[in-house]
């Protein structure tokens, strides 16, 4: 405290929260611990790569098709390959139609026998999409015709 300000215990309480927040800032990237010191450390690229999951796209129902179920944690989408058999409009969205979905990507009048890909951009910090905690990634088809492909993603729990 500077000399001009009368000491106030409530300011000490606020200062304690500042100290805690500074620790949170320093260790923002991860909840993993260094086995030697027990201190949190950032997650490595190798660990991220080991966490990658691949899921097949095999949808043929008009309306909502759940591609990634409503898992706990944030789903980070790094890579997407899609093949459409019949011309139709495709919509990628978070959540289900009718319950406030967040539309991510709309492919209007997507042609027949055509592929589409979102490649890995080289950075695990910049996924194409982030699907919120407890929300599903849904592909909405206009017609009951086959759409194939795969998605590579990772589930981020906590701050890891």
């Amino acid at each position: 405290m500077s000399s001009g300000i009368i000491a106030n215990p409530y300011n000490d309480l606020l200062a304690q929260r500042h100290d805690l927040a500074r620790k949170a800032v320093r260790f923002a990237l991860s909840t993993l611990c260094d086995p030697a010191t027990g201190e949190p450390q950032p997650i490595t690229r190798t660990q991220i790569r080991q966490q990658l999951r691949t899921i097949q796209i095999n949808a043929a129902t008009a309306g909502d098709n759940i591609i990634i179920p409503a898992l706990a944690g944030v789903k980070l989408i790094y890579e997407l390959v899609l093949w459409n058999s019949t011309a139709q409009t495709l919509i990628w969205q978070q959540g289900f139609t009718g319950s406030q979905p967040i539309q991510l990507f709309r492919l209007s009048g997507f042609p027949a026998l055509t592929g589409f890909s979102l490649g890995f951009n080289g950075s695990f910090e910049q996924p194409h999409w982030e699907i919120d905690n407890g929300q599903a990634l849904v592909l909405v088809l206009a017609n009951p015709t086959q759409v194939d492909g795969f998605i590579r993603y990772r589930v981020q729990n906590g701050t890891a």
């Binding site: 106030n8 409530y10 927040a21 539309q103």
Partner: protein
Amino acid sequence: MLTRPWIDPRDVDWTDPLNPLRNPGWQQNNNPYVWAALKDPMLQALRQGKGIEPRLYVCPDPNSQTIPGNSTYDYEVPAEPNCWLFALNASGSGTDFLLQITDSVTGAKVFSQPTPMSLINSNLTGTSNRGKLFFLTTPHLFEPPSYPVVRLINTESTAKVCAVNLFTCVEYDTA
């Protein structure tokens, strides 16, 4: 008067009229919505600490800005250092927006997933055009150099207005 229970004046917190723990009139049944927030030690400290000033941020700027349909809009709040977010409310022309507030440095989110604006819209859940506040259970500190990032998601197909008011206070550096 004689039917009223006598309250020892020494039990009353005369410095803080909003202190539910020390002011007998403030029972949880009187106002269950803010009781938990007002008794939080950090919010009490903000009420009674020195060098605290309110800052109210209206988001986005200008607040009449429309957000295109099915799109996400991020507004980086030009907050001063040592900003404490303790309450918020929202209004807009859209029937339901989604809202998220993120700490720009730690990535900490106020809501685990974007929350519907209808939950914090004072026009829908209270008297129209009255300043109802939705208090966080404990205020969130944006430790410098952090600032709040307000994410607005228009889930409708047409452009809409969504305004969010952040009720914050800043703490002068008393170190």
